[in-house]
C-alpha cells in the first residue's frame, strides 16, 4: 500500500514542491559557484581577439520573450563584453518578436557603458526571410537593411561606411531558441567563411554539438548555464581591469544597483534552476524506487 503511494503522488503536491524549489533559492539568495566550459570561453576569446581590429560583432537576436529568461542574459553579457572593449556591435533580429528584446538588451547595455547609438552600436531591427538576410549580409548590410530600427537611413551612418559586409564582421553570434543558428552556420559560415557562434536554450544545445565538434561553430552558450559562464568570464575580466567599480562609482546608487543585479542575472537564475533539477531527479528516483519494489513484490507473488 505504502509502495503504491510512492507511485501515485498527487500532481498538486509535485507542483507545490517544484514551486518551493524555485522560490526558496531566490529568496535565500544562494551563491553557487560557476565553472566555465571551453565552449563558452572560446566565444569570449574570439571577442577579445577582435579588440583593435576594427571589426564588428554581429548579434542576431533570434528569440522572443518566451525564451528570454534563458537567452536575454547571454545577449546582454556578450554586448557588455563588446562595448567594454569598444568593439562595434550590430544588432539584428530575424523574428518580429525579437525586436523588443534587441531594443531592451542594446539600450540597457549601451547606457551602462556609455555607448552611443549609430557610433558604437547600431540596431538594424527586423528583416525577413532569414536565409535571404544571411546571404544578403555577405554583399552589403545597407542593401538588406535600408534603415535602422529608429528609421535612420543606413547610408547616412558613418559606422556602416566601414562595416559593409561579413568581411568587416569578426564574429556573428546567433542567440536563439530555434534552429536559426544552424542556418547561420550553413550560410554565413559555409558560404562566406564567417566565424559563427551560438547562444541557445538548453534543450537546443544537443542539436549544435556536431557543428561545435567540426569547428563550424566558434563556441556555444547552452541555456542559462552558458549565460552564467559568460557573465563570470566578463566579471573576472572587469575585476582585472578595474573598470566596473569605476563605472559604478560614476553612477547614481540606484542605477549602479540596477546594473549590478542585471550583470548577475544568469547566475542568479542558476540557483533556482539547480534546486529545480535536484527536485526533478528526486521525483524520478522516487517513482523508480516505487516501481522497482512493486515489480519485485509482484514477481514474488
Amino acid at each position: 500500500m505504502k509502495l503504491k503511494a510512492l507511485l501515485n503522488i498527487d500532481r498538486r503536491i509535485i507542483y507545490l514542491i517544484m514551486l518551493l524549489s524555485v522560490i526558496i533559492p531566490l529568496v535565500a539568495k544562494l551563491d553557487l559557484p560557476t565553472k566555465v566550459t571551453s565552449e563558452v570561453e572560446s566565444i569570449f576569446n574570439a571577442i577579445e581577439a577582435l579588440q583593435g581590429t576594427g571589426k564588428a560583432v554581429l548579434i542576431s537576436i533570434d528569440y522572443d520573450p518566451s525564451t528570454a529568461p534563458e537567452l536575454h542574459p547571454m545577449s546582454k553579457a556578450v554586448m557588455r563584453h563588446a562595448m567594454l572593449r569598444r568593439i562595434p556591435v550590430l544588432g539584428i533580429t530575424l523574428l518580429p518578436q525579437g525586436i523588443g528584446m534587441g531594443v531592451d538588451a542594446l539600450g540597457t547595455t549601451a547606457r551602462e557603458y556609455g555607448a552611443k547609438s549609430l557610433e558604437d552600436y547600431v540596431f538594424l531591427g527586423f528583416q525577413t526571410p532569414p536565409l535571404s538576410v544571411m546571404l544578403g549580409l555577405g554583399e552589403d548590410i545597407r542593401r538588406v537593411f535600408p534603415e535602422t530600427y529608429d528609421k535612420v537611413p543606413t547610408d547616412t551612418i558613418p559606422l556602416l561606411e566601414r562595416i559593409k559586409n561579413y568581411d568587416d564582421i569578426g564574429l556573428t553570434i546567433s542567440i536563439s531558441g530555434t534552429s536559426i543558428p544552424m542556418s547561420w552556420v550553413a550560410t554565413a559560415g559555409t558560404r562566406f567563411n564567417q566565424p559563427v557562434a551560438a547562444g541557445v536554450t538548453a534543450v537546443s544545445a544537443a542539436d549544435l554539438y556536431p557543428f561545435l565538434q567540426t569547428n563550424q561553430l566558434v563556441g556555444m552558450m547552452g541555456g542559462v548555464k552558458g549565460g552564467a559562464e559568460y557573465e563570470e568570464l566578463l566579471d573576472r575580466l572587469e575585476a582585472r581591469l578595474g573598470t566596473a567599480e569605476q563605472r559604478f562609482a560614476a553612477m547614481t546608487a540606484e542605477d549602479a544597483a540596477m546594473y549590478k543585479t542585471d550583470r548577475y542575472m544568469a547566475r542568479q537564475i542558476m540557483n533556482p534552476q539547480s534546486i529545480a533539477h535536484l527536485t526533478i531527479i528526486a521525483f524520478v528516483l522516487l517513482g523508480n524506487v516505487g516501481y522497482l519494489l512493486t515489480e519485485r513484490g509482484r514477481k514474488r507473488g
Binding site: 517544484m18 544537443a206 548555464k225 535536484l278 523508480n288
Partner: protein, 207 residues
Amino acid sequence: MKTTIPLAITAIMGVIMFVQYFVPHQSSENFYFFMLDWTRVIGIFALLIGLSSLIRLHGQKIKRQVPGWGYSIVVIVSLISMACVGLFDGVQEGSLFMKLYLYLMAPLQSTMFALLAFYITSAAYRAFRARSWQATLLLISGVIVMLGRIPLGDMIWSNMSETTRWIMILPTTAAMRGIRLGVGLGMIATSLKIVLGIERSYLGGRV
C-alpha cells in the same frame, strides 16, 4: 493553369538558381542579389498573409461563437491595440508600445513557458521508469546530464560536469549527426521533388 504556371516558375527558377551558384560571373552575381531582394519582398507579403489568416480564423470563431471564442476577442483586440499604439506613438525605446511589450507581453510569454517546469516534473515522475535496459541507460544519462548542468553536480561528484560534457560531445553528437545527415538528405530529396514538380503540397493541396 493555376497549377501549371506555379509549377513552371518553380522548375525554371530552381534550375536557374542551381546553375547560378556555379557561374562565377558578375551578371550571375547581380542576378543572385536581385533574387535575394525579391525573396525579402515576398517574405514581407508572407507576413501579411499570416496576419490576414489570423484575423479571418479568429473572426470566424467569434462569428460562430465556438467554445473559447472569448479568447479570440482578446487576440483581435490585442492585435489592433498594439498596432494602433505602435503607429501613433512610435516603437522606440521608452514608448508605450515598448512598455506594453516589456511589461505585459514578455512576462505573459515567459510565464507560459515557465509552466513547463511543473508539467515536466510531473511527467518525468510518472513516465521516466527503468522498464528496460535501454530506458535505464536513458534514465542514468538524463540524471547525470541534469546534475552536470548545475553547480551542485560538481559538489556531489567532482567529475560530474566532465562526464556530462563527454555524454554531450560523444554519444549525443554521434546520434545528432546521424539525424542531421538524414534531415539534410531529406531536404535535398524534397527540394529536387519540388523543382521537378513531383512534390506539389506547397500549392495548397488542390492538386
